[in-house]
């Protein structure tokens, strides 16, 4: 039986779909019975989703142009 402590170490692999079938089952059985872990998993998922909902930062057109120019130069020197 998975402990709560172990579950908190597996939560990202669970959310990302990286667990094996058996581990996924064990994970599900645990959160089915444990309210605290259910809450923990929800919070980690909410955190990841909230990061995706952060407003996109602004970049001044001048700075963007200058940095893209540098990027192109940099790539050239890497190729040569």
């Amino acid at each position: 039986m998975l402990t709560c402590k172990e579950l908190t170490e597996l939560v990202t692999d669970y959310a990302e779909g990286n667990l094996s079938f058996v581990d996924r089952l064990r994970f599900r059985v645990h959160i089915g019975m444990c309210r605290d872990c259910r809450r923990y998993v929800r919070q980690v998922k909410a955190t990841a989703a909230a990061l995706g909902a952060l407003p996109v930062p602004e970049l001044s057109p001048d700075l963007e142009q200058e940095l893209l120019r540098r990027f192109d130069d940099w790539k050239q020197t890497r190729r040569s």
Binding site: E9, Q43, L51
Partner: protein, 163 residues
């Protein structure tokens, strides 16, 4: 435009990011780097740190083992954020700042993985290619980064809102 700003940003971009092949992915990265740099600077200068508890929280990469009993069960379970949807967390000024500060404080590679995965929604393969990471390392870094940011949000929820 100040040469200093360009130079500083450029150095931040080059730092550990040898892998960019496409202008588009570079551009995506650029926006985030700049935002995160601005945040770090604000933090250093003591502006916009929402509450002192964050500084004390330390670089926790997993849940504090003290919060579990000997059998690995929660002794000190997570507090509830009953009314918090991801959208609200992202748009409410205080929680947004908590997340931004937590992301800015991450070690560089963790931050890179988290930004590309959770903020930009890139697939794991793309991230591994961009940053030159193995899939296993990418998973570990993402896990640590998310754990820290969740922790920062919890610390904030527990500490109550700053005045």
């Amino acid at each position: 435009m100040a040469e200093e700003v360009v130079q500083e940003t450029w150095m931040a971009v080059l730092e550990g990011l040898d892998g960019f092949e496409e202008r588009a992915s570079f551009k995506t990265w650029l926006y985030r780097i700049l935002a995160n740099r601005a945040r770090s600077r604000a933090v250093r200068e003591g502006r916009s740190v929402p509450f002192s508890a964050l500084a004390d929280a330390g670089p926790e990469e997993r849940v504090d083992p003290e919060r579990f009993d000997a059998a690995g069960r929660w002794r000190d379970p997570p507090v509830g954020w009953t009314d918090q949807t991801p959208e609200r967390l992202a748009l409410e000024a205080e929680t947004r700042r908590v997340m931004e500060v937590a992301v800015a404080a991450l070690p560089a590679t963790q931050r890179a993985v988290l930004v590309l995965r959770d903020e930009e929604g890139l697939e794991t393969d793309e991230i591994c290619n961009l940053l030159g990471l193995t899939v296993t390392n990418q998973r570990v870094l993402l896990h640590r980064a998310r754990t820290r940011v969740r922790q920062a949000l919890e610390a904030y929820m527990r500490g109550g809102r700053p005045c």
